[in-house]
């Protein structure tokens, strides 16, 4: 039994933590939060220099050819610092979509640019409020052009490539790649809960596009794309959950009320222990998700949904109770508690809500549980 990262992987974690402590202190996230910028371009370049976007891209396409364990570790560290970067859009979703659905020629064209960080890409799926499904897609792909509107699309204004979920003339699902900078593609900035990440409404007006032709697109394959992203987003959420707990503990030890540290009151103590329990369960479930993703297990649908649900619960709870533990100071603009509160909810809605993943979890469980004799 070896249910732990390797020594090299644990070293990567240490290295990533040290790197981000230097290059992404809270002031970097705050700068993006307080400006009109969608991301921190200098940080993106620094992270690209570290090769993080290239992690799982095969060497033949200019990547590092490492495993999803390494990417999970990087995701957790980016979560801990609430990095103001389009990393999840470009790496967990767009790069993954091209890896899975792209033709050989398409991979050779885009993956090297994504690996080096020269290209930022994103994925555009949802169009209207409510659950994403094959019934909720109206954007059309017809005669090599896209027409329709997607919103919200994360990071589209800084992307040069958008992977768009659309339907063709025969009403079949297709994933199309579209030049995000083409004049017919109109990005209208939308304010979101987390202004350290940019969001837009994207209008496609007969915009030139091409179908990713490596693999047939059906709803099941889209769900698989989401499953894979769910594991990586779960690790990012885990980073948020842990930092929120650490901050809450630190504050509870220092802050005195009624003549004693507030962390000595069971009302606070039990709250923080509750955060620890949720975080620990989420971490163990995320380990299993990383394993299933890394080895390509057929248990991935259940493993990913379990990791995702646990990570949503842990990160949202930790972020909100961190503020509660800080009292009034936690509700101020000056304190960093808001970063985690914003980002935890953003990531919890990014690729399907808790309810969506609970449903998917039970589908996976039902498929894996034999009928009682």
């Amino acid at each position: 039994m070896n249910f732990e990262f390797s020594d090299e992987q644990l070293m990567l974690r240490e290295q990533a933590r040290g790197f981000l402590a230097q290059h992404c202190p809270p002031a970097v996230t705050r700068n993006v939060l307080e400006s009109d910028a969608d991301y921190d371009a200098e940080l993106w370049q620094n992270v690209a220099d570290m090769g993080w976007m290239a992690t799982t891209i095969p060497e033949q396409y200019g990547g590092l050819g490492l495993s999803y364990y390494e990417l999970a570790i990087i995701a957790e560290e980016l979560g801990r610092v609430v990095a103001p970067l389009p990393f999840s859009s470009s790496v967990y979703l767009a790069t993954e979509a091209i890896l899975q659905f792209g033709s050989e020629q398409q991979k050779a064209r885009w993956l090297p640019l994504l690996a080096s960080g020269e290209m930022i890409a994103t994925v555009a799926m949802t169009e209207r409020p409510g659950q994403l499904s094959e019934h909720s897609i109206s954007t059309r792909f017809h005669e090599d052009t896209l027409t329709g509107q997607k919103q919200p699309v994360a990071d589209s204004a800084i992307s040069t490539l958008i992977i768009v979920l659309a339907k063709n003339a025969d009403d079949e699902l297709v994933l199309c790649a579209c030049d995000a900078t083409h004049p017919t593609v109109v990005h209208s900035s939308l304010r979101s809960l987390d202004f350290s990440r940019g969001h837009s409404a994207v209008q496609f007006n007969s915009s030139p596009a091409e179908v990713l032709t490596g693999k047939t697109t059906d709803w099941a394959s889209i769900q698989e794309l989401l499953d894979r992203a769910a594991v990586l987003v779960a690790w990012e959420q885990l980073g948020i959950a842990d930092v929120a707990l650490e901050q809450a503990c630190e504050y509870a030890k220092q802050r005195y009320a009624f003549g004693r540290p507030i962390g000595s009151f069971q009302a606070i103590k039990h709250k923080l222990a509750g955060m620890y329990v949720k975080n620990t369960l989420a971490r163990s479930n995320a380990y299993f998700g990383a394993w299933a993703l890394a080895i390509g297990s057929d248990q991935l649908p259940l493993a990913a949904a379990t990791a995702r649900v646990a990570a949503i619960q842990a990160s949202v709870y930790a972020a909100q109770e961190n503020i509660q533990t800080h009292g009034g100071m936690g509700f101020t603009w000056e304190f960093d508690c808001q970063f985690y509160y914003r980002r935890a909810k953003l990531l919890s809605l990014a690729i399907g809500s808790e309810r969506y993943w609970q449903d998917r979890l039970v589908t996976g469980l039902n498929n894996q549980t034999p009928n009682a004799a």
Partner: protein, 403 residues
């Protein structure tokens, strides 16, 4: 990450599995024996082949096995329906305490018979006045030459009625602070003056006893640690409790909930299709899977020679309330039929009802939910202890609310 054994672990597992496959008790051997006699027979067989108390030194009846080998053995043994609960407290908690605090002579006297199952031990800690606040115990021990005279009452003692020996913590000095006036002894449970009464639990079963002590004499040589050092001795026992108490056998779980939800209907459709039912099942699976993979991480740490720490309190803290909640949920799915607990026509083996009725005890035994939460907060997260109203006060001056 991989879930496979190392080469050495695989060799050990094969050896254990082969022995287990070839040495099960036969129906002829167990005919006419009660559960305790069967357990003793099985323990003796394991002991004689070198499969008892695996982590103990050979001279005490063990085999000097590593922590991961113990886990592997437990995994293999749990594939069989073998009786073992009679020895969990003695071998898991008391044996290590004797090893840490007693003389070489007594280790050689008591440990081998504990390992072979010949002698059964019980733990006499809790009292009516001292549960979560264990150190509030009042059973008195007074020195009389080479002996001590014990008077008082213990409660929640598992197996007192079939135990040969016990480990008892007593108050030897009420004039000093609570934790300072305690002393621990080994005690012969057949001594004159010991009276044992079973406690009938709310589920109708009797797993525990009250034990009364009236002028019971214990030799001074049976003392563990020095006079007044009892609290430290108790901590050795309690630290091992974390390792000794396992999952607690079959109970209501996600599999049961799915079985029921596939069978019963809501609005004319299988309950498993109902979104509220699905959300609940997902919640429970997150807990169950989280604990399972936590266990894998703990085993990995053991395999690397790391010792389990207070973070392992999470298993019982999450598992016991989850059992209670999922049992209740399973009964809800059955609607009014959920109340039925009839052995003649059990619904889904009566597992939900049995778990529901047993779960309140699990949330209390071996550290209540609240105490486990304090342990996580204080020992894992490093939060400060509550200020205590009894701190620095002589035990005899501590308010008791009239008890």
């Amino acid at each position: 990450m991989d879930f496979n054994d190392t080469a050495e672990e695989a060799t050990f597992r094969n050896e254990a599995a082969a022995w287990l496959a070839n040495n099960q008790l036969t129906a002829a051997e167990t005919q006419g024996l009660n559960r305790l006699q069967i357990a003793k027979l099985w323990q003796k067989r394991k002991h004689d082949a070198g499969w008892a108390c695996l982590g103990w030194d050979r001279k005490f009846g063990g085999r000097g096995a590593s922590a991961i080998e113990r886990v592997i053995w437990d995994q293999e043994e749990s594939k069989y329906d073998v009786p073992s609960r009679f020895f969990v407290i003695g071998q898991g908690m008391i044996g290590p305490t004797i090893m840490a605090w007693s003389t070489a002579e007594y280790c050689e006297r008591f440990l081998p018979k504990l390992a072979s199952g010949e002698e059964v031990w019980c733990q006499l800690f809790s009292e009516p006045a001292g549960g979560s606040d264990l150190a509030a115990l009042r059973t008195k021990a007074e020195q009389d030459g080479d002996e001590w005279i014990l008077n008082g009452q213990k409660i929640w003692t598992s197996g007192a009625h079939y135990s040969d020996y016990g480990l008892i913590v007593t108050r030897t000095d009420p004039s000093v602070a609570k934790h300072k006036g305690l002393t621990v002894f080994m005690i012969d449970m057949h001594s004159p003056g010991i009276e044992i009464k079973p406690i009938k639990q709310l589920n109708g079963e009797s797993d525990f006893n009250e034990v009364y002590f009236t002028d019971v004499r214990v030799p001074d040589s049976y003392r563990l640690g020095s006079v007044g050092q009892g609290w430290q001795v108790c901590l050795t026992t309690l630290m091992n409790e974390r390792l000794a108490i396992g999952g607690g056998g079959p109970g209501a779980d996600v599999k049961l909930a799915i079985d029921i939800a596939r069978t019963v209907e809501i609005n004319g459709k299988p309950a498993i299709e109902d979104s509220a039912v699905r959300a609940k099942i997902a919640e429970y699976h997150v807990l169950e899977a989280g604990l399972k993979y936590n266990g894998y991480r703990a085993i990995t740490a053991l395999s690397r020679g790391e010792l389990p720490g207070p973070e392992n309190s999470i298993g019982k803290l999450v598992g016991a309330p989850k059992l209670q909640s999922i049992a209740s949920f399973c009964m809800d799915l059955l609607e009014e039929h959920g109340v039925l607990w009839d052995e003649a026509q059990p619904l889904f083996d009566g597992l939900a009802q049995r778990s529901y009725m047993g779960a309140p005890g699990l949330r209390i035994a071996g550290g209540t939910d609240e105490i486990m939460t304090n342990i996580i907060a204080e020992r894992v997260l490093g939060l400060p202890q509550d200020p205590r109203a009894d701190k620095g006060i002589a035990f005899s001056d501590i308010p008791t609310g009239g008890h």
